[in-house]
Point group: C2
Chain length 332, copies 2
DNA sequence: TTGTATGCGTTATCAA
DNA sequence: TTGATAACGCATACAA
C-alpha cells in the first residue's frame, strides 16, 4: 500500500481506463449523462480497489463553497438545550455530508467577515439576516441563510424555535390544574431578552384564550433573595397568584427555594413550572414540572430546512408544537 | 462597489502595481523575504481598499489541509462540562484562525474516514490515536493529533483532562470536614466508565495519602430507588460511612433525595459532594457542594497544545490542578 | 527584491 | 458517450 501520495481521480481514471471526466461523471451521478453500466462498474471498481476518496478541498475550491454550514451563535452563555440542538444538528448535517461549524456573534464584527473566510454552503443565524447581507452571500456562493428566531416583520420567513409555544404550554398546564391567577417569572438581563419576550408572549396569549387575567410578570435573576421577594409578592394578601410559570428550570428551583425559606409548600401554596428538563430537576423538592424541548426534532427540522434550501430553496416552515412536551412532576 | 466577482490576490497585485507573489509574501509574512516597507505599505493599502480576504478554500487546497481542527467525540451523551469545553475551545481556536468541527465516534467507522474527507489541520480525540493512524495522518498532511484522556501505557503523551484530580479533591474536602469513612457513588453504565475509573482512582489515592480506609464503592444510576438503597447501606448499623463523593451532581442530588425519603439530613447524617457545578445545584436542599471544572482554562490548554503542535510539535503537557476548584455549599 | 510559471484535485465546457 | 482542457485562487521553486 503506497501511503505516500494521495489517490486522485486521475489514478482512478488510469486504472479504469477512462478519463478523469468520466470518473467525475460516475461519482457525481451527473444528470443527463448516459454512461453505460459497464463503464460505470469499471470506474466504481477502481474506486474501491484504490480506496479513493474525493478531495473535499479541491471540490470546495472548484464549487466556490465548502460542505460546511456556519451557525452564528448569540453572545450569551448557551443553555443545555441549545448545546443539545447543536450536537444533534451536527449529527443530522453529517448525514448529508455537511459539517456544522459555529462562530460567536461579536459586537462590531459584521456577519460578512464570519462567512467570507469560510465560504460555507449555508449560514444559520439566530436573527434575521438583512436583504443586503443576503445578496452578498448569494454572490459569494453561499446558498442558504436561515434564522432560528425572527423579527415581527417577517414571521413566515424564518424557521422558528417554538418559544411562544413553550409559554403557552406552561399556562395551559397551570390552568388545567385549576389555577386562575398566574404569574410569569422572567429572567432578567438583556442577553436572554428575546427568549423571554417570546415565551411571555405565548403565556399571555394562552391566558387570553383561556379567559384568565393577564399574567403578573416579575423580572428576577436566579438568586435566592430575589426569588424570595417574588414569592412574598405572589403569596401576599393582595395577590391571588397560585401558579408560576418560570422562564427556565433554574429560575423555577430558585423560586422553590424561596418558597422553602418562607415556609411555603409547592404545589399547595404555589405551583411552579419550569422549562428545559434539567436532569437535576427530577430531584428538587418537590420534583419539578417542566417543559421539555425535543432537541432531536428541532435539529432535524433545521437540518431539513438547510438541506432543502441547498438544493432548491423553498421557504422554511415554522416548527410544529410536537417539538415540545410537558413533563409533569410534583411541583404543580 | 462591484460585488459580482470575488476580489482575488491578482486584483490586489494589479492595484498595488506588484505581482501576486509579492502580495502573497506580504500577507503571509514569509520569512527570509526582505520586502521594502514602501512596497509593503502599498500592498496593504490595496488590500484595505479592495477589502480583500484570501480565499481559504484555495489556500487549503494548496497547503493540503484546511484551517480546521477535528474533535472526535465519544458516543455517549455529552455533559454540561464537555459542551462548555467545546464552546470555549471553538472560541480559543478561532483566535488562531482555526475552526473547530466535531464528529461522533461510531462503531465500525475508522478514524481515517473521519478526517480523510475533511483534511483538517489537526485531530483531537478522547483516547489515544495509535501509531499506524498517526502515520497515515502525517502522510495526509494532518499535523497534530492529541488525546484528551490517555491509556495507562502512555501517561505523558496526551493532554489529560484532570479527572483524577477531581476525585482527589472530593475526598480531600470530605476529610477536611472530619469524615474518616468515605463512600464513592459511581455512575453505572459503560459509557461513562472511563471517567468513573479515573475519578475513582483519584479518590482512592487521596484516601491512601490521607490515611483513610479505601472508599466504599457503590455503582448506581441517578434513580431515586437506587439512591435510597445506597443511602440505607451507608447509614446502616454495620457501615460507618459519613461522607459520599458522587460521580456528578445529578447523582449527588439523587442521593440527597434518597436521604430525604429515609428521613436523613445532610450534612449531619451524611455529607454529599458532587461534580460539575450544575446551576440547579445551588438550589437543591440542602445546596450542593461540588467540584467545578474551569472550562475556559481547560479549553485554553487544549487550544495551546494544538496550536503549538501545529507550528512545531512539542509533547503536550498534562493539565494542572488549577483547572478545578471546590464550591462549598451546605451539603458537606 | 520581485516576477513568471507551475501545480494542488476537482468540476465543467466544449469538441469529437 | 467520452476525452482534452481550462478554470477555481493561492503558494512557492526558480529565474531574473
Amino acid at each position: 500500500m503506497n501511503a505516500r501520495r494521495r489517490v486522485t481521480a486521475s489514478d482512478v481514471a488510469q486504472v479504469a481506463g477512462v478519463s478523469k471526466t468520466t470518473v467525475s461523471y460516475v461519482l457525481n451521478e451527473t444528470p443527463h449523462q448516459k454512461i453505460p453500466e459497464e463503464t460505470r462498474e469499471r470506474v466504481l471498481d477502481a474506486v474501491r480497489r484504490l480506496n479513493y476518496t474525493p478531495n473535499s478541498l479541491a471540490r470546495a475550491l472548484r464549487k466556490g463553497h465548502s460542505d460546511t454550514v456556519l451557525l452564528v451563535l448569540p453572545d450569551w452563555p448557551l443553555g443545555r438545550v441549545v448545546s443539545g440542538i447543536i450536537e444533534a444538528l451536527t449529527e443530522q448535517l453529517e448525514r448529508h455530508g455537511l459539517s456544522l461549524l459555529t462562530r460567536r456573534e461579536r459586537e462590531g464584527v459584521p456577519l460578512a467577515s464570519m462567512w467570507r473566510d469560510l465560504s460555507p454552503a449555508g449560514v444559520v443565524a439566530f436573527h434575521d439576516v438583512d436583504e443586503h447581507e443576503q445578496g452578498l452571500m448569494r454572490d459569494a456562493g453561499v446558498h442558504v441563510a436561515t434564522a432560528l428566531l425572527t423579527s415581527d416583520r417577517s414571521p413566515a420567513e424564518a424557521l422558528v424555535l417554538p418559544q411562544e409555544l413553550i409559554g403557552s404550554l406552561q399556562v395551559q398546564h397551570l390552568a388545567a390544574r385549576g389555577h386562575r391567577r398566574v404569574a410569569y417569572a422572567a429572567l432578567r438581563g438583556p442577553r436572554t431578552q428575546v427568549f423571554v419576550d417570546l415565551r411571555l408572549r405565548g403565556a399571555r396569549r394562552a391566558c387570553m384564550e383561556l379567559g384568565l387575567e393577564e399574567p403578573e410578570v416579575v423580572e428576577l435573576n436566579a438568586e435566592l433573595a430575589e426569588a424570595t421577594a417574588a414569592v412574598r409578592g405572589w403569596h401576599g394578601r393582595d395577590s391571588r397568584v397560585t401558579g408560576v410559570a418560570a422562564y427556565n428550570d433554574e429560575l423555577a428551583v430558585a423560586i422553590l427555594a424561596g418558597m422553602r425559606s418562607e415556609g411555603l409548600r409547592a404545589p399547595e401554596d404555589l405551583a411552579v413550572i419550569g422549562v428545559d428538563d434539567e436532569p437535576l430537576g427530577r430531584f428538587s423538592c418537590p420534583p419539578l414540572t417542566t417543559v421539555q424541548q425535543n432537541e432531536q426534532m428541532i435539529a432535524s427540522h433545521i437540518a431539513q430546512t438547510i438541506v432543502e434550501g441547498l438544493k432548491g430553496g423553498s421557504a422554511p416552515r415554522p416548527m410544529t408544537s410536537e417539538a415540545i412536551s410537558l413533563i409533569i412532576r410534583e411541583s404543580t
